[in-house]
């Protein structure tokens, strides 16, 4: 009798936990389901090593900007100018390197600086003049689109020197002796194996498991009711397996793309920044209740300003990656991209009213969109259908959010 009651309680606990966290698990589950779906309908093309590499490269600049966009949205604002800023910075890089012959490293620094200035200029009006960010960045969108046209004089400028191209298209050289890779190759039935990629995958998976366990141990020590064990095991297993699987696939192609490293490091930095630092905490407080935050001594204006400054730098970084990937700068670059970035953030669970959203959610959200794009393209679905489907996915994700919230009361 007592036993029956206990299990009943436990079940209720798990059920309640699942309901309370439906959003996060749902997102991860949706990504897995969509990947399996496309893997099947594309006859396995989706998860071919070359396509995985492609997928990462295609979405890298979206994810880089989405990291900054999450912070802007959590702070209660929006930035519509990122696509144009990205295009403008790409154009600037092309003009500097190709037409003016400036050193490519110097160009990168200048471009990031220009991004910072652009972000600061927009953030200044939003933060200190209380001009709605929608308006300021809408204006910015037009201004910087115009500036890229002017800068490129309607031409496409390229190609870039090899060194610059490697930002996006390069791969991390295998630091392990080639012999190891060659001896592993027959095991995987592949021509060559990049040992570094494989090792990175295993180490990353181990790190995920280890940090998860440590968090649980800490929660337990403080009497915090964490994730129920089955969920923890399932979630960690999915992530660990996925990491190893993707890295294994990459290792049988050309190894780790440089962009993956950039993206991974940035993601970790921003996850840390938003979740573990006072700065991050204050941004969430600002978005959650700006007045209460201000009355608690938080410099709300400065934080808003910094959020836009940061967004500018990341948009510039994305611009460099984008230009390097296409190996040319065009006036069309970044057109409409802000919408993909914003969509990724909302699919990832951020709230329009601010104060809510996580970096990891945004990355998963961006990949979800990326897999949709990629999968539908492989299937040969027209751009018309693609747009419609993406729109409906965004709407569904946000409806799900709102419904979920109203149900919880």
């Amino acid at each position: 009798m007592a036993l029956a009651e206990n299990t009943g309680d436990a079940k209720q606990g798990i059920g309640a936990y699942l309901l309370a966290n439906l959003r996060e698990y749902g997102l991860l589950a949706a990504l897995v389901v969509i990947m399996i779906f496309f893997q099947v309908v594309t006859d396995g093309v989706l998860l071919k090593p070359v396509n995985i590499t492609n997928l990462l490269l295609q979405n890298s600049y979206i994810i880089i900007m989405a990291l900054g966009m999450l912070i802007v949205i959590v702070a209660g604002h929006i930035d519509l100018s990122v696509g144009s800023v990205m295009g403008f910075v790409g154009a600037l890089a092309a003009v500097m390197i190709v037409q003016l012959g400036v050193n490519w490293l110097l160009t990168i620094l200048v471009c990031l600086g220009v991004g910072a200035v652009i972000g600061a200029a927009q953030g200044y009006w939003v933060a200190y003049w209380k001009i709605p960010s929608f308006i300021v960045t809408l204006a910015g969108m037009l201004v910087f689109r115009g500036l890229s046209l002017w800068l490129l004089a309607g031409q496409s400028v390229g190609p870039f020197p090899k060194e610059f191209q490697t930002i996006a298209n390069g791969f991390v050289p295998d630091v392990f002796p080639a012999a190891i890779g060659q001896s592993l190759a027959p095991l995987f039935d592949a021509r060559q194996v990049n040992t570094l990629a494989l090792v990175t995958g295993v180490v990353a998976a181990a790190a995920v498991i280890w940090s998860g366990m440590r968090q649980r141990a800490r929660d337990k020590a403080y009497g915090v009711e964490g994730e129920p064990t089955p969920f923890f095991v399932a979630r960690t297993a999915i992530i660990a397996v996925a990491l190893v699987f993707i890295m294994y696939k990459l290792s049988t192609f050309r190894g780790l793309p440089n962009v993956l490293i950039t993206m991974g490091v940035l993601t970790l930095i921003y996850a840390f920044l938003t979740e573990k630092t006072t700065l991050g905490r204050r941004i969430y407080a600002l978005g959650g209740n700006a007045k209460a935050a201000k009355l608690s001594g938080i410099k709300t204006e400065r934080l808003t300003f910094l959020a836009f400054l940061n967004m500018g730098i990341l948009a510039a970084a994305a611009g460099l990656v984008f230009a390097a990937r296409l190996n040319t700068a065009t006036a069309k670059a970044g057109f409409g991209l802000e919408l993909d970035v914003i969509a990724a953030v909302f699919i990832g669970g951020a709230s329009m009213s601010g104060g809510v959203g996580k970096i990891m959610g945004v990355v998963v959200g961006a990949f979800l969109m990326g897999v949709l794009n990629n999968g539908m393209s492989i299937m040969g679905l027209g751009i018309d259908y693609q747009q419609m489907i993406k729109g409906l996915v965004l709407l569904a994700a946000v409806i799900f959010d709102v419904y979920n919230k109203s149900r919880q009361g």
Binding site: R218, Y222, E225, T277, G297, G355, V356
Partner: protein, 460 residues
């Protein structure tokens, strides 16, 4: 009043309302307006960027098949404005009018609906003397035209001047009803009934000992946040000693919150002048973070919109004003943070399953304890408590009084704003009385009584 005007529908309250000799069963505001009952709230319900005429006929447009007849609208509005004695064109934007004139627009709007019973909630609170007089004259005129009015007011001289009968309500129940036609009403009689006489031991005992002067505010002037020409605080001077609980009494809108918030990092108002001294030294309180560093804390009267981040858990609210205390080099120590919150949960007796509960799910009393925890963790010297027990139950109130006493025992200074006079009398060592932006009196605990506070307020 909300019952009368149909904001709370029939069935949501007990008792009966008889209107025109019939039992009234209003379903909503439209229903009561249909019967000719119109309420004008203290906060005016006008749309600032629409014209007078548009406001007067808002929701009641002079229209044929959905197309508004502007000539008719403006003509009717002109008639109504003449009736209420407002010389403005019907097309003037409401935004351009002063509060007094806006009040008249509200009345014109009421008249447009063929009002028979007009309810005015503190109509003169925001008006100047001459505007008030004009409004009162208008009410007398309406009376002559057969319109009944109910006026809710703290200003006894006004009530005495125009009312035929006065009902005193205190703590939600009727205390007395006086008829001015049978015998003249005196202000004293009203004050006596407003104050009541029940002063039980609802306040925990405290050893009263005031130490050295902790905070001095001198010649503090503040102008309205939006209207730069309106001064809301006039040369306020006050002191708080260590271990002292000092009260500020006054009516709603007398400037108490504005005074407190302007001191706390200029969170209210503009063109603020005056000095704040803590322990004898001039301190910079021009920004909230500086005020906190100087040793001030302000516990807001509006905890939901100004005090808490409702969608975040208790732990994140408690540490918000002192993140430095749970971090090093800008990196949070979440274990430390949880431990701190846990400590306050126990000390304050916050009733919650865990400190990870979102504060939106807590009761008012527990929310208030979270706000207090936040400010205690910021380790201030002087706490300004703005209506610290508003909207919380009796048990939690008693606990909060206990916390205040403990703070004073630790030698902190407490400045407490409250609309509940018994609370001030029960808790404070000294009480300042505030009226219309001025500190009009100062009473020691021994001198203070509700009658004396009230008479300082109403004899103005």
């Amino acid at each position: 009043m909300k019952v009368l005007s149909g904001v709370y529908p029939y069935g949501s309250y007990e008792g009966e309302i008889h209107y025109d000799g019939q039992l009234a069963q209003f379903r909503d505001i439209a229903d009561s307006e249909e019967k000719g009952i119109i309420i004008i709230h203290q906060e005016l319900a006008l749309v600032p960027l629409l014209s007078i005429a548009e406001n007067v006929f808002l929701g009641n447009e002079r229209a044929k098949n959905g197309v508004i007849d502007w000539n008719e609208t403006n003509r009717r509005t002109g008639e109504l404005l003449r009736k209420v004695g407002l010389r403005e064109a019907p097309t003037t934007l409401v935004d351009k009018l002063g509060v007094g004139k806006q009040q008249l627009v509200e009345i014109a709007k009421a008249l447009s609906k063929e009002v028979r019973l007009l309810i005015l909630d503190e109509p003169t609170a925001a008006l100047s003397e001459s505007d008030s007089q004009a409004l009162l004259d208008l009410m007398l005129e309406l009376k002559a035209q057969g319109v009944t009015s109910i006026i809710i007011s703290h200003k006894l001289n006004e009530v005495r001047r125009i009312a035929d009968s006065v009902t005193v309500i205190r703590d939600g129940s009727t205390v007395s009803t006086m008829d001015a036609r049978s015998q003249p009403i005196t202000e004293d009689a009203i004050v006596r009934d407003m104050v009541g006489r029940d002063m039980a031991h609802r306040y925990p005992e405290r050893e009263r000992r005031a130490g050295d002067v902790l905070m001095q505010v001198e010649n503090w002037n503040v102008f309205h946040a939006e209207h730069a020409d309106r001064q809301v605080i006039h040369g306020a001077n006050l002191t708080v000693r260590a271990g002292e609980v000092v009260g500020i009494a006054g009516l709603m809108g007398s400037g108490r919150t504005e005074l407190a918030m302007s001191i706390f990092g200029r969170s209210y108002g503009q063109n603020i002048s005056g000095t704040v001294r803590l322990k004898g030294k001039d301190v910079d309180v021009s920004k909230v973070d500086r005020a906190i560093d100087a040793g001030l804390a302000y516990v807001t009267e509006d905890r939901k919109s100004l005090g808490l981040i409702l969608e975040e858990p208790i732990v994140r609210n408690v540490t918000l004003a002192n993140l430095a205390g749970v971090s090093s080099g800008g990196i949070l120590n979440e274990n430390e943070e949880n431990a701190v919150s846990e400590r306050y949960r126990k000390a304050m007796n916050i009733r919650t399953p865990s400190v990870f509960q979102k504060v939106v799910n807590l009761s008012g009393g527990n929310q208030q304890k979270v706000v207090l925890s936040k400010w205690l963790f910021a380790e201030p010297e002087v706490l300004i408590l703005d209506e610290p027990t508003r909207g919380i139950d009796v048990g939690a109130k008693f606990e909060i009084y206990g916390i205040i006493n403990e703070l004073s025992a630790q030698g902190k200074g407490v400045l407490m704003i409250s609309s509940e006079m018994p609370e001030l009398l029960g808790m404070c060592d000294r009480i300042y009385v505030m009226n219309e932006g001025e500190l009009v009196g100062e009473l020691t605990a021994a001198e203070a009584s509700q009658e004396r506070i009230m008479s300082l307020i109403v004899t103005d």
